[in-house]
């Protein structure tokens, strides 16, 4: 009776695994592949078009710093887009929280407390949105559009009027403007790779203990080898002195990079390896099935909006760090780029499909378009046109791959 053996997807040689991967891609499960392709093509084009500027250490560092704010906002958005919801107020939520932080700092309150309070304010806003969406049943588009408008007013009310309000807190300003010592950059890279390898090996050990097959170790080696090479190149380039001033060297990995990667890593572990993450994907894929499986759908929705708003505050913090100031108009325009970044990275607006790393890749694509066109001296109009075109292309790829994966299944 039980002589039938069902595979687990881990069997076979490296070649079988690679074939299976392409099989999945062909059937519409493309993940970040289109975005990674776009990224490669864009880097190629801009390197060819502006060889003396684009892939220079100074510009590469700028690219990462410019992308960080957007990455964080797109990552925030992933949590709600996975539920086929949207948060149009994410940007201004960050703005409001930063206004709160500014007011507290002005009262002489210590920055860690001011920052924590601003995060709590963000989380509370997320709870409010989640409550209206999950409990009252107002579409998230409408709730967050209302807050998008309202919070622009709230920022002005809190800060008095438009303009910049200086924030002079060394640790906050350091995030976007300071770099790791060169040795620490290497240490972070090695530590990150070691952590990844450790997790992979523990997974494999657990599978072996359960008598389950493992993928060929050569694939693991290839994956981490590639990551080590790519990471090594980036750290090496970032450790080159990129200052034009001979007396004031600028070198090292910008501090914001390990912070961003750390948050993405933790978020990714939560999505992939915790019950909450699994339930988030389930609710995004089929809310009724999730409900029948006993998942508290409303609770999952509310938590997702809380996480989204809290991460938006961190994006807002990056913005403040870059400017060295709080802005009364912060967060108005970046929010749409955040949605675009997530979608370009391969997160499906239909819900249930996408990962945090996709947000980072999408954010890099959008940042590189702006950066590269800027270097070529093209104006902002062109930037908007190209970015818009890429977004529509990404959404089309998503829609088509959905169609393909639903028609490739035989419904009896």
């Amino acid at each position: 009776m039980s002589n039938v053996k069902i595979a687990t997807g881990h069997e076979g040689s490296a070649k079988d695994q690679i074939n299976a991967y392409f099989q999945r891609v062909k059937s519409g499960d493309m993940g970040a592949l289109p975005a990674v392709g776009a990224l490669t093509v864009l880097i190629g084009i801009f390197t060819a078009a502006a060889p003396e500027y684009f892939l220079r250490p100074l510009n590469v560092a700028n690219l990462f710093v410019q992308a960080a704010e957007l990455t964080m906002l797109a990552a925030a958005m992933v949590f709600v887009i996975l539920l086929a919801e949207i948060d149009l107020s994410a940007g201004v939520t960050g703005g409001v929280a930063m206004a709160v932080m500014f007011l507290l700092l002005r009262e002489g309150i210590d920055w860690p407390i001011a920052l924590i309070v601003s995060l709590v304010v963000g989380a509370a806003i997320g709870f409010l949105i989640g409550f209206f969406v999950a409990k009252v049943g107002v579409p998230s588009f409408v709730v967050t559009l209302g807050l998008f408008l309202g919070f622009q007013g709230l920022q002005l009310v809190m800060l008095g009027d438009g303009g910049l309000f200086k924030v002079d807190v060394a640790p906050i300003n350091a995030i976007m403007n300071e770099n790791l010592p060169t040795w620490l950059g290497w240490l972070v890279l090695i530590g990150g790779l070691a952590l990844g390898i450790l997790i992979t090996l523990l997974d494999r050990a657990r599978r072996t203990k359960n008598g389950l097959p493992n993928r060929p170790i050569s694939l693991v080696a290839a994956k981490y080898g590639a990551m080590a090479v790519l990471g090594g190149i980036i750290v090496a380039v970032m450790n080159v002195n990129r200052s034009a001033n001979a007396f004031k060297p600028i070198e090292g990995v910008p501090i914001v990079i390990p912070i961003t990667l750390g948050i993405l890593l933790i978020g990714g572990l939560i999505l992939d390896r915790t019950r909450f993450g699994r339930h988030l994907y389930a609710v995004g894929g089929n809310p009724e099935a999730a409900r029948r499986a006993g998942i508290k759908v409303a609770k999952i929705r509310i938590i997702a909006f809380i996480v989204c708003s809290a991460l938006s505050v961190i994006s807002g913090l990056f913005h403040v760090s870059r400017l060295g100031a709080v802005e009364a108009t912060a967060g108005r325009t970046i929010v749409l780029s955040g949605v675009a970044a997530a979608v370009v990275g391969g997160v499906s607006l239909f819900g249930g499909k996408g990962r945090l790393m996709h947000a980072a890749i999408g954010a890099l694509v959008i940042t590189i378009i702006a950066n590269g066109l800027g270097l070529l001296g093209w104006d902002a109009g062109m930037n908007f046109l190209v970015t818009g075109g890429v977004l529509i292309l990404a959404a089309t790829v998503d829609a088509l791959s959905r169609k393909r994966s639903s028609s490739s299944q035989i419904r009896v």
Partner: protein, 250 residues
Amino acid sequence: MEVPVIELQDVKKSFGPVEVLKGIDFRAYAGRVTALVGDNGAGKSTLIKGLAGVQPYDSGTVKFDGEVVSIHAPRQAGHLGIEVVYQDLALCDNLDIVQNMFLGREEIKNLTLNEAAMELQAQKALESLSVRTVKSVRQKVSSLSGGQRQTVAIARSVLRQAKLVILDEPTAALGVAQTEQVSRLVRTLADSGVAVIIISHNLADVFKACDDISVLYLGKMVASLKTKETNQGEVIGYITGLKTMDGVEQ
């Protein structure tokens, strides 16, 4: 007399002005397969959704193992040991087979999902059903056929060691071989002491696989029969309303 695993007394349910269940009495016993038959719209799925806690009844008594219980959420049904395989299957297309089978009851180790343990159990459950058509337990459900989905949904209830398993038209979408397989599986389940309720329109299958037959007609339970003591003609009479408890209608 033996205590039924599930006993319904005078259960009612309306959708707005429409009364769909008009005071139902119903029993299902451990180790027995009970068929729930009736024409389209008779109220079979509605009766089941009440037991599953998906759509609670408006009134009436529900006894589980002889004790009065109230089932107002799927979680409560799950805790009692009631598992339902729905007509529309209710699987998450974006998740794989293992993830679907353990949805809502994931196994945790060191604060994180114990994927290896879940994968192994899912594999064992499917293999015990002699499933041949599923390539990998890590296949996304979106890539499965209707029959394969049915198998996954049934295997899920096997996995959870339910006391009462309810199948809403389990074989409606299946080919001959898989129907046979499901029937065999249902018998195995019942023999292991589980009470099984099957909703079906296929009387031939019902007579092959079931011990008891309950007939719903327009929201009323018009007959509860032992398969051995009846025949297809009589059951069809009840289903179509030509026959009632009190005798043949004119």
